[in-house]
């Protein structure tokens, strides 16, 4: 809704501009279509990042949301009729899209803000935008001061009895299974897929629900339907703030992020690159955690003194927290092996 005001201003100025200069294409310049995942997350980044960037670059940002952008990326890329410019999506989509010629390769000479970012936060097609984590969450009441702290605990049904839930998706779940089986974080990738599914087979009879949406996972913990589960850190914090009996640990959390990437043949390609660079500016990135429980994609945001120390410690990408977690490898998941592993999921669920 906030965008409407900006749009009006822009239209008035560009109409005035077109009138004086007499060039009609100025009308189209200075706008991009940005796609994110909707909900509280998109609202938070609108206030934290999109509005300030729109003002600084003097552009209009048309927003759309798609909880799963991949089918749309594929459709727009294959038909050659791009309507989106910049997408905020898991890097798996950016890399896979890039490999299939659906995503523009990124010219990093035009993205100076990415220079100081760690290499593992970038791909040839994208840069990290924000961080979240798939953590082990639990209901403290069910464990009398001895909650599960690792995935090995989660798999230990004798010492930690209780209802369990996992996400109905291979990403992150296979990693947790291998960590539970004693694989160290440095040896995790490439994933030993057979071993992971074997370990999952072991816990399967004890999983009461395989959740599909973030809201569902929050509901399960909030209602006491399950005692421990893997879920996204932002979702646990949200119900903790609402007073639910819930807690979580960053130990062995699967650190994930979404990246910004640009659709192949984007209608506003030039402006899209400029926007992308501005969106990972530490100044705006530092705003994000002030509005939602997700960490900035650019770690430089922690150094400019905008995020209070207390707040920073709660975030998944805070260096001390990040150390205790495993960074998900999208390179592996976008490889042929990764895609094969993803395909095995449905079969596993139905046995």
């Amino acid at each position: 809704m906030k965008q409407t005001h900006g749009l009006k201003t822009l239209m008035v100025t560009s109409v005035a501009l077109a009138g004086t200069v007499g060039v009609s294409h100025t009308m189209a310049a200075g706008q991009i279509t940005f796609v994110s995942q909707g909900g509280a997350y998109q609202e938070a980044q609108t206030v934290a990042i999109l509005d300030p960037v729109a003002e600084a670059l003097n552009i209009t940002i048309h927003q759309e949301s798609a909880p799963d952008a991949w089918p749309m990326i594929r459709t727009q890329g294959t038909t050659g009729q791009a309507v989106w410019d910049v997408v905020d999506t898991p890097p798996l989509n950016c890399v896979r899209g890039g490999n299939q010629d659906l995503i523009e390769p990124l010219d990093f000479s035009r993205v100076p803000n990415a220079e100081s970012m760690p290499e593992e936060y970038k791909t040839p097609y994208s840069v990290a935008y924000e961080f979240y984590s798939s953590v082990l969450a639990y209901n403290p009441d069910a464990f009398n001061g001895n909650p599960p702290e690792t995935w090995a605990d989660f798999w230990n049904v004798e010492e930690f009895p209780g209802n369990r839930a996992l996400r109905n998706h291979p990403l992150g779940t296979l990693e947790a299974a291998l960590l539970a089986d004693g694989v160290t974080p440095d040896e995790l990738y490439p994933l030993d897929v057979d071993r992971a599914f074997e370990k999952l087979e072991e816990i399967k009879p004890h999983i009461s629900t395989w959740w599909t949406s973030g809201g569902q996972s929050a509901q399960l913990l909030y209602d006491g339907e399950v005692d421990m589960l893997m879920m996204w850190n932002g979702r646990v914090s949200a119900i903790m703030n609402e007073g639910a009996n819930a807690d979580f640990t960053y130990n062995e959390g699967i650190l994930q992020n979404t990246h910004l990437c640009i659709i192949k043949g984007a209608p506003n390609l030039d402006m899209a690159v400029e926007f992308l660079n501005a969106a990972i500016d530490p100044q705006y990135q530092a705003n994000l955690p002030l509005h939602i429980d997700y960490g900035p994609g650019n770690p430089a945001a922690f150094d400019i003194g905008k995020i209070p120390e207390e707040r920073a410690r709660e975030l998944p990408s805070y260096p001390e927290n990040a150390e205790r977690q495993v960074l998900m490898s999208y390179e592996w998941w976008s490889s042929a092996e990764g895609e094969q592993a993803e395909r095995r999921w449905l079969e596993f669920m139905q046995q």
Partner: protein, 300 residues
């Protein structure tokens, strides 16, 4: 004689019959009135459906039967279709078992009571499927009302798994589809003349005997109509199993969405849809040999 008769007939055919012309004009008018609806059906149903069918025959940019081969050879697809049919059969039988007495009561009770019963059947029908799925979730979950009552009354020690599985899916689906069983049953039963039942009784039949020999056989077309509707609707159920099935209850429609969301495989998703559609059409065809389709769809 013969020749004149033929001539007369020709003359009659060639003569401009005012009533015929009138009828023809009416036909044209009716066609024109229908054309917006036909256009909508063509643009929103025929065109996308043809596209869907075409897509199901393409794999990796070439014509191929690959998607259909996978459906008929891979375990995941077999399991899913088997589960879908099993759930649909159970739901249909449960709906019949629960719906028949309700419809019977509504058909023999005085008008006032019948209206009340039908209102109670239809009222939940106006509530969103999503809301009803969540309502069942609240009732049947581990700490839900039903489990709490069962534990408090000592009937069970630990909460029963009533949700997030096939059982939960069946309970919620029966609830949602029950009106589709009751309404056609009621429509059929209402038309069964009470005189026949009375005649049976006056001939010395016990109430049970009369019901079994007279009433029940006459209500069979309604039974068939209700069962067909419930079965076919259940085959395509998506939201309910997705929400209360706990992730393990994968029905055919969910296979369509998984194929797109998890694998971005539009061809495979289309092939599953086409197979499901063919199943539905086959069922309608078989049933239409037994009962006219207009009757099932409630037109008559």
């Amino acid at each position: 004689m013969k020749a004149t008769a033929i001539h007369d007939r020709y003359a009659a055919a060639n003569a401009i019959d005012p009533s015929l012309r009138h009828r023809r004009r009416e036909h044209v008018l009716m066609m024109m009135l229908m054309s917006p609806a036909v256009l909508v059906v063509f643009a929103l149903l025929i065109v996308p459906l043809s596209w869907l069918i075409m897509q199901s025959f393409y794999a990796d940019g070439a014509l191929s039967l690959e998607h259909y081969r996978r459906i008929f050879t891979e375990g995941i697809y077999w399991n899913t279709f088997f589960l879908t049919f099993r759930i649909s059969v159970i739901v249909t039988l449960l709906a019949l078992l629960m719906g028949y007495p309700v419809a019977y009561a509504a058909s023999i009770l005085p008008q006032r009571w019948a209206m009340l019963i039908l209102a109670l059947v239809i009222l939940p029908f106006w509530t969103s499927v999503l809301v009803r799925a969540y309502a069942w979730l609240i009732l049947l979950q581990r700490s839900g009302v039903v489990n709490q009552t069962l534990i408090a009354s000592g009937l069970t020690d630990s909460p029963l798994a009533l949700m997030h599985n096939e059982l939960g899916t069946i309970i919620a689906t029966v609830h949602i589809l029950l009106p589709f069983m009751v309404l056609p049953l009621y429509a059929t039963m209402q038309k069964i003349p009470q005189d026949l039942v009375q005649a049976g009784a006056s001939l010395g039949g016990s109430p049970l005997h009369v019901f079994m020999r007279v009433f029940f056989p006459l209500s069979l077309s309604g039974v068939l109509a209700g069962m067909t509707l419930v079965f076919v609707l259940c085959l395509g159920f998506y939201i309910t199993p997705e929400l209360v099935g706990g992730g393990r209850t994968v029905m055919a429609s969910m296979l369509v969405s998984r194929n797109i969301q998890l694998y971005s495989d539009w061809g495979a998703a289309s092939a599953v849809s086409v197979v499901l559609l063919i199943c539905v059409l086959a069922i309608f065809y078989v049933v239409s040999r037994l009962v006219p389709l207009e009757r099932i769809l409630g037109a008559k």
